[in-house]
Subunit: 285 residues, 6 copies
């Protein structure tokens, strides 16, 4: 179960509110590489964890719980950036507000509406669980496979795309408070990338973990086709690299190259059944 402290994980301040930047921050809340995703992913991995020990469950709970605080920081940042967004044209202060100044031009209203539609119309100038284009977060992005190694790679992937996004937001930010908040979040992503890789290391490293799941005997897979790079180019050319020769990364095979060709036949499903609502011509005699 869970507790809260009214104070924020890290200071969130905005000197110059910027509605367009609020929209960008939405990607870090409800984008597929955002904080709702990692928070819920770690929770569901923890709650469903099956292992001889509760150690990984515990670790995941710590980081999932930390991530709620990240969503909270970002939601606060969105609201602060929307603070002075004008609701209508006649509103005092539009022209001389920082927003007006940045926007310039005769009529800033339209641009602002174009940028922050739903945050203005639906939530009263607050954050929403959606991305920077207003697409609501879809929980199918919570990856929790029941396999600890697969889950750790999903987590590394989530934190890698998450830190890429945070860096892009940092580059885009122009308010000191926002840059400060992001430089903290970027740091936490560094830790989390390392943390999930540390689990892999603890489990023996990449070579031991691969191929995931390592509990399936490789003798049961097609051993003619498990370490060859398939070339599908028409002329047979291909890019040479670490993946075309030498020992495989998991140390259990040797990379080779295979010019792809069909091993099967043309499928023929035959005529449709009389009662399947096909056209008569499909049913045949």
């Amino acid at each position: 179960m869970y507790y809260h402290d009214k104070r924020l994980q890290y200071p969130v301040t905005v000197t110059n509110p910027d509605p367009a930047f609020a929209r960008s921050l939405q990607q870090a809340i409800g984008g597929v590489e955002g904080e709702i995703r990692v928070c819920m992913q770690y929770f569901f991995q923890a709650w469903g964890n099956r292992a001889p020990t509760t150690k990984y469950r515990d670790m995941l709970l710590n980081t999932a719980t930390e991530e709620i605080g990240h969503i909270e920081m970002l939601a606060t940042a969105v609201a602060l950036n929307l603070d002075k967004a004008p609701a209508h044209l006649q509103e005092e202060g539009v022209k001389d507000s920082i927003v007006g100044a940045v926007m310039g031009g005769e009529n800033p209203r339209h641009q602002i509406e174009g940028v922050i539609h739903k945050n203005l119309l639906s939530s009263g100038m607050a954050a929403m669980p959606m991305d920077s284009d207003g697409v609501p977060f879809n929980m199918s992005h919570i990856y929790a496979s029941g396999n600890i190694a697969a889950d750790m790679y999903c987590n590394v992937a989530a934190e890698a795309t998450g830190r890429v996004l945070a860096v892009r937001l940092f580059n885009q930010a122009h308010d000191e408070g926002m840059k400060k908040m992001l430089h903290y979040m970027i740091a936490r992503d560094t830790m989390h990338q390392n943390q999930w890789q540390a689990v892999i290391e603890e489990l023996g490293g990449t070579a031991a973990a691969l191929p995931v799941p390592n509990s399936f005997p490789q003798s049961a897979e097609d051993e003619q086709n498990n370490y060859n790079f398939y070339v599908t180019s028409l002329d047979g050319s291909y890019p040479e690299g670490r993946w075309t020769s030498g020992p495989s990364v998991d140390g259990k095979g040797e990379f080779t190259v295979f010019k792809n060709a069909p091993l099967g036949e043309e499928p023929n499903l035959g005529p449709a059944r009389a009662d399947s609502a096909a056209q008569s011509e499909q049913i045949g005699k």
Copy 2:
């Protein structure tokens, strides 16, 4: 651009059609860990690849193109497994069909309908781009970040969850043809897990790649908070592991432990604006 061969990548045969297994196979077509996902993910990563060389674009194109053939195999397998699914009760052969035999009981119709609704009603006993619960694939699962390392981790994650699924399907399968097809697909997933890790290795390995993106100077991130494991448990207890002490996996820091506490203050957004359609009580004086 692209070419096709009418023949399949690998033989797909079904001796004993099983509509319930057809539904399970749908997860490998349109599930978030399925083949449409990896196919389209590699294509979009290839088409958007920016690098001094086209080498990774080329490699991605080879594997993306290979994956179309995997969707095709699975779609064929679904259709073959639905082959004898009865469209209605009176249909001849229901009782003595293999399906009837497996199902047993007086009236197999209802179970079958419960299992394969949309494949029966919407597609005429064919595969659909949806998962085993009939949820259509949503293209937001195509991860292509523009960062080659982030993308490779996304690909390892996709192939790890993909092979986990394929092994579960293999365990569930009882038809020899299906087991054969899956033992091939499991092998290809082994290769692809190794292949994406091989790119990481070629780029210097995990330590060189992390933290992703490695082009952002770590001096600009919060160096007090980038290698400490945050403990959020009320009593301060935490699971010790590779992530609580010792050098970080990227070799750029030292893991430590931090008992989490708020560094920020309670946020206060203040009263609502008079023109924002809040309740009067929110607007204040």
Copy 3:
């Protein structure tokens, strides 16, 4: 604006309630080929219709309004089929209800739950705007392009897949009342398929309508590539048919065959920008 009559468009009766059939009927309510789709599609086409005359707007309003009554009939049919679905095991009448009889076996509870989950748990044994797998209808399926011919083809497509579904439901139905209701709906689909084609005819027929939009001068399109069938098979073989030779259907060209080959070059997007959060290796110098 709109009016209602409490009575149904056509009688809906169910003698032997069947929860599994209720689930099948959901496809005709909230499936992509269902009645919500056509109803809303015709309404949005009507409301956005731009033409020298309001004639097509009028016609579309008539049929859109008719379709509300079809959703109502199906929703009633779903509720009636769920009428005796047991909410829990101990309920009287489960064993001797028609449902129990059809299901047979020791414990029908599980099968029923498996089949009708959300209709039981979420709506209290009523219809919901979702398909037979419980996937909610998504309004992106309302096609209204602003081009009258494109819209008519979308409507023919909707009614064709709709009638295919209705026939499959008719084949699956075993209750006389349900068969009667469906034989009426199938008839209406016949009319509507003819009706939308009649608009095409009134506008001069297929040859006049194609290529849609017919207001774009064909001299502005690539006249080397507008009537040739592209062959992508590796060996150049292709299926001959009406589409490989002879005058095109629109009478404005001659069908030919083209063995596909690249007309463009390999794209090269070059290195990533230094500030784009790519890996260092992608950025080049």
Copy 4:
């Protein structure tokens, strides 16, 4: 920011695992009336709350934090109910497991697969953030309008549908541990329904709150049409009730009845523009 305790809010035990009931419980996790919804709804309302006081922000944070623990309990319950679900036919214990016993019949495998597809294939027998039909939770269901009264009514609605669901699950449950867990959750829903209504009362009650938003002057709305029940029936008949006569609930008007009739004219959008890709026939002269 947030803390956790490894222990559960309330005991969760399952004596007789039941995979079908696990699926039903999914509705309470990821259904639109489930716990993820209320948890995230209260958090986003709290984080975006604008008022002269932080009082409501505080209250919302307490209950949002409580709700995380409810998701956790349900996720644990799902995992425990899936505990003995067979992964394949040959597995020992299928026949004599409680699941096998309940299911009866020759081959329980198919029914089980039909019921728990994704929980088996995708998550390794764990809970997922989806509903009982496998549809992932969509965050557009997080209602947070920026108006405190509107939000409270959204919360009452969420807890009312939530308790309806919990009662249905209680009625369906047959395991004592599950009944115990649900009798606790039903109690919490009772409190929460009362709690959100208590806010309305504190703000002056229904009459003071309505019409929401109460900050918009009613003199600016159409005072001829704000308290009359519109009758759309063809024959003018209508159901009399509290809403057809007497003072309005908000005490600011008098209910009357209006036989609906168009107050506007037929709209005519006129011909399409020449450059809008309409058919020629739509463009006119």
Copy 5:
């Protein structure tokens, strides 16, 4: 079944077309608080209504039917506001159109495209069933629980958020015709908020209705935990209010305060099964 009148419910006129405002209006069509939602919600509640009387079914049908006319009005308003939106740069009238005038600047084309993308590209300058960010309406927002009180609270919530949105649009509007249309719709929302509350009153008021469902005996819920406000703050502080002491709103209990603490134990799901495609390390001995 249903009838239509070609004339609109209320006059819709636009003197100064404004493409940006058209986009805002989309929120009232296909937003989660928009008119498609209430229309379909009332229809599905009516069609599935189970009660000793058809009275509520009748009432719901009247208002659902009224709401179709609201969608129609808004769709007309969107089309009229898009009327002069330029399709391309060279088009005559761009520079001196009202749109050009409002936008100012050298090249209004880009802003307009940014604002109205899909209404321009997909529908030929017409309304679409999506929100102001172009997200299609998802029918999972149709709440119809089978419990009349829960449904009425859902309806109050829908009309409260709906009127909040309408007021925001009214504040944003600058065209007299649009303000007139909205002042009518705001009035209808006032009626509908009162109407659904009137049903609650007719059923005995809040105290009689709560806790929903009132047909479940409260003696079966956990009577130690049904009227206490849970405090999750680390330091035990909490906001006092109507919800912390005094009789509960439903009059069936007494509000108290409970400093939250775990009542359950740490869950332990134990090792993974050998056949579940977990990592070897999870399976244990």
Copy 6:
């Protein structure tokens, strides 16, 4: 199975990158009328095709494979148009880049962010499988009914809306390279519209194909209601046209007009069950 050639189907060049046009092009990639849709639709129709011959399967494979190349061209075009989009304000070249020039004004950053959010933040200036509003493509738009005529009409509809979109993009384009690419794609849409109609012709034409499915005996449908235009207008007026009199398009009936009226009765679902979590008042005695 499939092969690729690194070169593009047709040249894609961009002289003046335009981030706003990149966003418009996204509609042709991931819009419901875009290229992912047709590509996947033809593949799934091919893979599930049941007929006495594999001829249509073959034809569909050729065109599906061609369409992958179209997605590739558009993805390349999006990336090229994003080439010089500034990631942050300070970046050199913003002011004098073509983008800056077109945008004018003091600070182009905000407009650009408003237009291209996700392409900038999530994909590193590359195409994504989403539409021009950032909504990800949803695979439920892949129509493959198992009925060859229904599928062909779906394909005509897809290519008709597709060409309408391509023409709108052509009208909007101002770069010669983009106009050239689009004039090629428009031509291919011309061919494909003709191609699918050619299949209908080969199967006997519209009269033979309708009503789809033509394998259902029309004697089993309601022959009183299959060729009459239903009039729902209150006053009985209706628009006369090809659909109100004369032989039906399929030649199997005669169009007539029917003033709509209810043929059924008012449905009455009766009281709710005691165990269904309805309100007590619904349950009756």
